[in-house]
């Protein structure tokens, strides 16, 4: 009997992760407290603030609070997630435009959903694969998210606003379900 060739990945014995829970949707954003999680990448702050402003102006959201990630490359700590969950009803996070921060944005989104907050994750279209791989790894295969064209960092102020307006419909669709109770 020859020796087996050993597996260098260690995944053959790893237990399958349970599917991550998804937050219940609101029928609309009217009166909702919006939490922005800004990942510090260039133009992420003006992009998300413009999304927040438009959610208030056009969709009747009640308020916007913003928080900046300490380290864009890794998922946010449980404490920060809990604090934001106490202050907000829905989350918008991004803008993922690098290898580690796009994956981290997806991981944050999955955790917010499990904490009961609908989350809209925004990444640039160059990072779809890594975003989807991270969501799958975190027990949320097929996790929906929004994209904007790459790159974002080089855009001027007006272009950032245009992009934010362009992604707004997708963000609202991610955060709401018109058939939910209370419509």
């Amino acid at each position: 009997m020859p020796n087996a060739i050993l597996d260098p990945t260690g995944t053959a014995t790893a237990a399958a992760k349970p599917a991550a829970a998804r937050a219940p949707r609101r029928a609309s954003l009217r009166g909702a407290r919006v939490g922005l999680l800004i990942n510090t990448k260039q133009n992420a702050a003006p992009f998300l603030h413009e999304v927040g402003r438009l959610l208030v102006e056009e969709y009747g959201a009640g308020s916007v609070t913003a928080r900046t990630k300490l380290n864009f490359a890794v998922p946010e700590s449980e404490e920060v997630i809990k604090e934001m969950a106490a202050q907000a009803d829905v989350i918008v996070t991004g803008v993922g435009d690098c290898g580690s921060c796009s994956a981290a944005a997806a991981a944050d989104g999955v955790v917010f959903e499990a904490a009961g907050l609908p989350a809209a994750v925004i990444v640039t279209d160059s990072f779809r694969t890594t975003t989807e791989a991270m969501a799958q790894l975190r027990g949320a295969p097929g996790f929906p998210y929004a994209t904007t064209a790459h790159p974002v960092a080089v855009l001027d102020e007006d272009q950032v606003k245009e992009r934010a307006a362009g992604v707004l419909g997708d963000v609202v669709a991610l955060l709401t379900d018109p058939s939910a109770p209370g419509a």
Binding site: I5, L6, T11, A73, V74, G99, S100, S102, M134, L137
Partner: protein
């Protein structure tokens, strides 16, 4: 139970089947792997007194750990000899101590490569190249140990290109840079002494690098003229994205001895380069990099004039100095550090 017993010539067809099997599992970095069997991996594990299940590194963001056992399997597959295994563990420990590696380094668009530096008697005991061709190839420990680290990242951490690995272009020679310092021709203390180890101890230091850039300067007897050449490369605009741009110097023995002969200690070299390496604010702005002046904690507090000379380094620890290569020309490397390097040296063969 030790050594693989070869009875008669090995069967090349079986070897090829085993290699193709490893490719089919998606375990390979693109080059053939040595198929690892339990007897082979047991020989690796026998070189250290460590629990095979001990976790030696975690990549929290992808939820994966690397154990002593997985390190041994990947080191075997990389082509390491069993006796290299304590160096593999020390190199991995040194690398994973660095925040840049634990954070998003392996996923980064910059596609950084580990730079591994080996000091002490283990260099000669295991047959590392300590002379010419320091950046390889041609020497089994120098080539297979960094490859083992790459396979651990790929297989144990699950970071594969185009999925969690998002390198835009990556670094030439990624997973193949392992330098054994030329202590014998260095005028200064071994690099591991700078990293906190006593002299004469076998130890490994590691960081992530974004590339190496050569300085060819072999015609002037004036040390400061050579240093000015280094400062020009260190201060250039390309790598500047933050106010600080750490580098390591891999000095050839000729440059190191020239500096020492002119009375420079390592600290003197570092301080000279801190003073002289940078560009003016105007040069940065004209290249669209004015942001590097203001981003981060050490940034200029006030808006500065175009004439302001922006130094890319402020601390000697941001310019680690290593001596490597042959004493046959004045050719050295400026190595770009990804993030920061603590410079800590990890002893070989001791549990950290």
């Amino acid at each position: 139970m030790t050594g693989a017993v070869i009875e008669g010539p090995p069967d090349p067809d079986e070897a090829q089947r085993a290699i193709e099997y490893c490719y089919a599992q998606d375990w390979s970095d693109g080059l053939p792997l040595v198929p690892a069997s339990k007897p082979l991996v047991d020989r690796f594990l026998a070189t250290v007194r460590r629990d095979p299940d001990e976790i030696i590194g975690s990549l929290e963001q992808v939820g994966r750990d690397c154990t002593v056992y997985l390190a041994a399997v990947n080191a075997a597959m990389a082509g390491c000899k069993p006796e290299y295994f304590p160096v593999v563990l020390a190199a991995f420990e040194a690398l994973m101590r660095e925040r840049a590696a634990r954070g998003g380094g392996f996923q980064s668009t910059s596609g950084p490569a580990p730079l591994i530096v080996v000091n002490g008697p283990v260099r000669h005991e295991l047959g590392f190249n300590t002379a010419g061709g320091a950046f390889g190839p041609g020497f089994r420990p120098n080539m297979t140990i960094p490859r083992a680290i790459g396979l651990m990242v790929r297989n144990a951490f699950g970071v594969r290109e185009h999925v969690f690995g998002q390198a835009t272009q990556g670094v030439p020679g990624r997973w193949s840079i392992c330098i054994a310092e030329n202590e014998e021709e260095s005028p200064w203390e071994p690099f591991a002494v700078d990293g906190g180890q006593p002299g004469g101890v076998s130890a490994v230091s590691a960081t992530l690098t974004r590339t190496c850039e050569f300085i060819d300067n072999r015609a002037t007897p004036v040390a400061e003229e050579v240093l000015r050449d280094f400062a020009d490369t260190i201060g250039r605009l390309g790598p500047q994205i933050f106010p600080q741009t750490p580098v390591a110097l891999v000095l050839c023995p000729e440059h190191a001895q020239q500096f020492a002969g002119a009375g420079y200690s390592k600290a003197d070299v570092q301080n000279w380069l801190i003073e002289h390496s940078g560009r003016t604010a105007g040069e940065l702005r004209r290249a669209g990099k004015g942001g590097a002046l203001r981003l981060g904690a050490s940034a200029a507090a006030e808006p500065v004039s175009d004439e302001y000379f922006h130094r890319v380094l402020t601390q000697p620890r941001q310019i680690p100095v290593i001596v490597a290569g042959a004493k046959n020309a004045g050719i050295s490397m400026v190595v770009r550090i990804f993030g920061e390097w603590s410079g800590t040296a990890v002893p070989v063969g001791e549990k950290p």
